[in-house]
C-alpha cells in the first residue's frame, strides 16, 4: 500500500524518546488556579461566580459567551480569589478567574447521563457544548460547533487526528496506549452524529504500537479504520491530514466539512467520550513536559488552570538552566518568557530547551535556494511572500496566495540563510485578517 502523505513537509529531530515510554502521571495542583475566559476561538466566556464564592471541582464558573464559545469549569475546589486580567502563554493579559485551591478536591454531585443509545443528536451535541470541549490540539475551536455542520448527512469521514507530528510531543501517543477504549468510544459517539460517515484513526507510522493496538480494538468495528500515515511534519495539519487520508484537498477558505470531513484531535475525542458517556465536563488535559533542560521529562494529567511552575516541579525541576521555554511543540508553539502562566484547554506541551537555535543563528541574505518552496505544504513561495510582507506589499502578497499559508513553520526550519520567513508571513497574514474583520 502506498504511504498516505502529502507533498512538501520536513523531517526534524523528533525528541519523542525523552518522554514516550513513561506512563502519564497525575498532578495535584498546590497553588492558585487560573482560568482565562478566552481559551478558545470565539466569544470569551462570561463568569457566573464572584469573588469570595466557594466552588467545587466540576462546578461551572463561566458560561459560554455566544454560539461560538465554551463554558469553563473549576478543576479544583476552593474559593474565587479574583476575577482580573492575568498573563497567558501568548503574552496577552486575558480576563481570568483565579481560584484559591483548598486542597480538598471536593467534587460536585455528578449528573447521571442516560445511556448513550437513547440520546438524540441534539442531546449529545448539547452535552458536548455544556462540557466546554474545544479543539485541544491547539486551535481551540468549540467542538460542538464543529460537530454541527449545516448538512450533517453530507459528512463522509470523521477523522481522529492521531498524527502527533510535532517533535517532542508524546501526549497523544500515551493516551492512545493507555486509554484506547475511550478514544474509540469517543469516535463512536462522533460517528453516531453522522449517519453516512466512516471513522478514520489517522496515526503516523512512527507509532507502530498504537497502530497495532487500535487495529486490534477496532477489528470488529465496520465503520472504523486505522490508517498509518507517513511520518512527516506537518502530517497533523488539518488540510494535509484530510488529503493524506481521503485524497481531498481544501484551500484555506474552505472548511473540512466542505470536503465531507470532520477532524478532531485525540484529546478532544476522549473529552467527547467523558462528556457524553460519563457526563463529565472538561477538567483535565494531558501535557508533555519535556526538553533537554528538564530532569524527568514525561506526560502529566493536569487540571486545567494549573500554573506551569508546578508542572516543572513535578518533572523534577531543571537539570540545566533553560534558555528557551515553549508552550506547545517546537514548530508551532509559543515562546514564553516566564513560567508564571496557567495551563489552558489548548496547552499541549511545555518544552524547555538549553539552546535557542533561533537566536544562535543570525539571518543572512536569501540565496534563492528554493528549499522553502520544496518544503511548503501549502505550495506557496515563502521566499517571495516574505519579501512582499517585509515591504508591506499587500497587493502582491494577496495575489501570490499569501493567505494560503498555514504558518506551519517548515520554511523557517529549512532556510539555510536562517531567515524568519514564517514570522514575517504570519505578521502580514494577521494584519490582513484584522483588516478583513473591520
Amino acid at each position: 500500500m502506498a504511504k498516505l502523505t502529502f507533498a512538501g513537509g520536513i523531517h526534524p529531530y523528533d525528541g519523542k524518546d525523552l518522554s514516550k515510554d513513561k506512563p502519564i502521571k497525575e498532578v495535584l495542583p498546590k497553588g492558585d488556579l487560573i482560568y482565562p475566559l478566552s481559551q478558545h476561538i470565539g466569544a470569551p466566556a462570561q463568569p457566573i461566580v464572584k469573588k469570595g464564592d466557594k466552588v467545587l471541582t466540576g462546578q461551572k464558573i463561566a458560561e459560554a459567551g455566544g454560539f461560538v464559545s465554551a463554558p469553563i469549569y473549576a478543576s479544583v475546589s476552593g474559593t474565587v480569589k479574583a476575577i482580573e486580567p492575568r498573563r497567558v502563554v501568548t503574552g496577552d493579559n486575558v480576563m481570568s478567574i483565579v481560584i484559591e485551591n483548598d486542597g480538598l478536591y471536593q467534587e460536585v454531585e455528578w449528573k447521571k447521563v442516560p445511556p448513550f443509545e437513547t440520546l438524540t443528536r441534539e442531546e449529545k451535541i448539547s452535552l458536548i457544548r455544556e462540557a466546554g470541549i474545544v479543539g485541544m490540539g491547539g486551535a481551540g475551536f468549540p467542538t460542538a460547533v464543529k460537530l454541527s455542520p449545516r448538512k450533517p448527512e453530507k459528512i463522509e469521514y470523521v477523522i481522529v487526528n492521531c498524527a502527533e507530528c510535532e517533535p517532542y510531543l508524546t501526549s497523544d501517543y500515551r493516551k492512545m496506549l493507555e486509554e484506547p477504549e475511550k478514544l474509540i468510544g469517543g469516535l463512536k459517539v462522533s460517528l453516531s452524529l453522522f449517519e453516512n460517515a466512516r471513522g478514520i484513526l489517522a496515526v503516523e507510522d512512527n507509532k507502530p504500537d498504537c497502530i497495532e493496538k487500535l487495529k486490534k480494538l477496532t477489528q470488529d468495528e465496520s465503520r472504523i479504520t486505522v490508517k498509518a500515515l507517513k511520518t512527516k511534519y506537518p502530517q497533523g495539519s488539518e488540510r494535509q491530514l484530510i488529503y493524506a487520508t481521503t485524497g481531498r484537498a481544501i484551500h484555506s477558505a474552505m472548511l473540512p466539512a466542505d470536503a465531507g470531513c470532520v477532524v478532531n484531535n485525540v484529546d478532544t475525542v476522549i473529552a467527547i467520550y467523558n462528556a457524553v458517556i460519563c457526563g463529565r465536563p472538561l477538567l483535565y488535559r494531558i501535557v508533555t513536559v519535556t526538553g533537554d533542560a528538564v530532569a524527568d521529562p514525561r506526560n502529566f494529567r493536569v487540571r486545567i488552570g494549573t500554573n506551569y511552575h508546578e508542572l516543572i516541579e513535578e518533572a523534577g525541576g531543571f537539570k540545566q538552566p533553560p534558555v528557551k521555554i515553549v508552550s506547545g511543540g517546537p514548530m508551532m508553539g509559543f515562546g514564553i518568557f516566564d513560567l508564571d502562566v496557567p495551563t489552558t484547554k489548548t496547552s499541549s506541551a511545555l518544552l524547555c530547551l538549553t539552546r535557542d537555535e533561533v537566536s544562535a543563528m543570525e539571518p543572512g541574505p536569501c540565496i534563492n535556494c528554493g528549499k522553502c518552496v520544496e518544503a511548503c505544504p501549502g505550495r506557496v513561495v515563502p521566499r517571495k511572500l516574505a519579501d512582499y510582507a517585509e515591504h508591506y506589499d499587500e497587493e502582491a502578497f494577496l495575489k501570490n496566495n499569501g493567505m494560503e499559508c498555514c504558518e506551519c513553520g517548515c520554511c523557517s526550519f529549512v532556510c539555510p540563510a536562517k531567515r524568519p520567513l514564517t514570522q514575517v508571513i504570519k505578521s502580514m497574514r494577521k494584519m490582513q485578517l484584522a483588516k478583513k474583520k473591520k
Partner: protein, 310 residues
C-alpha cells in the same frame, strides 16, 4: 528562575543546513574538475585558479570594509565565484586576466547589485562574458604546452572528426575546468546526493539541447556527433554548476524545467548558428535575464486549488 527566557516567533528549531555549508559543498564538488584541470594543463592552471580565487575573496572583503558592511567572505560564496570563473579561463591566460575577471565578477556583478542573493546574473559567467568580449584573443587561445590547435568543439564545427574518449576523460584543449566530463559529473553527483542541486534544470537543459541538435544539427540522430556536443565545451560545467546557481535560476519547480529547456535551445542556436563554437555562457546569462518572467508565469497553484499530487 527570575531570568527572562528568550522568545521568538515559531518555529523554535532550525535545520543544520546553512548558506556556508552549501557553498562549501559546491567548492568541494568543483575540486575534481579543478584537480583534473591542474593535472591536464599543469602549474599554469593551478596558479591561475589561486590568483582568481584570491582576487574574488579579497575584492569582497575590501569592498565590505570600505562600505562599512558586515564582512561576509566566510560564507564561501566568493570562493565559489572565483573557482567557477577560473575553471572558465584558458590556462594560457595571463595572471591579470584572473584579477580583472575576479574584480568584475564580485564588484560589478555581485556587490553593486546588493551582494549575495541580489545579483541577477551569475557573477562568474558575467565576468567570463566580459572577458570574452574585451580580451577575445586571450580568452580564445587554447594553445598550451599540452595541446595546440582547435578545441574539439571548434573541430566539430569545422566538420572534422574528434576523439570522443579523450573528450569524455578530458584530455583535450579548452578552459581549465570544462574539459573533463567525468570529473564534472562526479562533482555533480556529490551535490545531487547532498540534495543541493537536482536534475530539474540540468536534465531538462541537456535533453532540450540534445533534441535541438537532433532536429537542427544536420546529422540527424548521430550518437557520436551528439555525444561530442554534450561532452564538449562548457556544457557540462554550465549545466551542472552554473545553470543551477540558486540566485540566478527560477525558484518555482515548473519554472526550473522551462528555464532548462530555454537554455538548451539557446545553447543549440549559439553553437550551431553562431559565429563561435561555444554558446553555453551566453545562453546562461541570457537565461538569467528571463528568470523574473519565468517565475511570474510559473507560480504554483496553492494546496487545495487544484493540481494535488502526493
Amino acid at each position: 528562575m527570575s531570568d527572562l527566557m528568550k522568545v521568538s516567533s515559531n518555529p523554535h528549531i532550525r535545520s543544520r543546513v546553512t548558506t556556508s555549508n552549501i557553498m562549501l559543498a559546491v567548492v568541494i564538488a568543483l575540486l575534481p574538475a579543478a584537480g583534473f584541470g591542474i593535472y591536464n594543463f599543469g602549474l599554469d592552471a593551478l596558479i591561475l585558479i589561486l590568483i582568481t580565487v584570491a582576487t574574488t575573496v579579497l575584492t569582497e572583503y575590501l569592498y565590505e570594509l570600505a562600505m562599512h558592511k558586515k564582512v561576509t567572505v566566510g560564507d564561501f560564496s566568493a570562493v565559489v565565484t572565483g573557482l567557477l570563473l577560473a575553471l572558465n579561463l584558458p590556462s594560457s591566460a595571463p595572471w591579470w586576466i584572473g584579477v580583472i575577471g575576479g574584480v568584475f565578477a564580485i564588484l560589478v556583478v555581485k556587490m553593486l547589485f546588493g551582494g549575495l542573493g541580489q545579483n541577477f546574473m551569475n557573477p562568474a559567467l558575467g565576468a567570463r562574458c566580459f572577458l570574452l568580449i574585451s580580451y577575445t584573443s586571450i580568452m580564445c587561445n587554447f594553445d598550451c604546452d599540452a595541446y595546440t590547435g582547435a578545441t574539439p568543439l571548434a573541430s566539430l564545427k569545422a566538420g572534422e572528426s574528434v576523439n570522443l574518449l579523450n573528450m569524455v576523460i578530458g584530455k583535450t584543449g579548452g578552459t581549465i575546468g570544462e574539459t573533463s566530463m567525468i570529473a564534472i559529473v562526479i562533482g555533480a553527483c556529490f551535490l545531487i546526493l547532498l540534495g543541493i542541486i537536482d536534475l530539474k534544470i540540468s536534465g531538462s537543459y541537456l535533453v532540450a539541447f540534445a533534441v535541438f541538435l537532433i532536429l537542427f544539427g544536420g546529422h540527424g540522430f548521430d550518437p557520436v556527433f551528439l555525444s561530442a556536443h554534450l561532452a564538449g565545451g562548457g556544457l557540462m560545467l554550465g549545466a551542472f554548476f552554473m545553470a543551477t546557481d540558486y540566485v540566478t535560476r527560477p525558484v518555482t519547480k515548473k519554472g526550473q524545467y522551462v528555464y532548462g529547456v530555454i537554455l538548451g535551445i539557446l545553447t543549440g542556436i549559439f553553437r550551431l548558428f553562431g559565429p563561435s563554437a561555444e554558446g553555453v555562457s551566453y545562453a546562461i546569462i541570457l537565461g538569467n535575464l528571463l528568470v523574473p518572467l519565468i517565475e511570474k508565469a510559473t507560480m504554483p497553484r496553492p494546496f487545495g486549488k487544484g493540481g494535488e499530487k502526493a
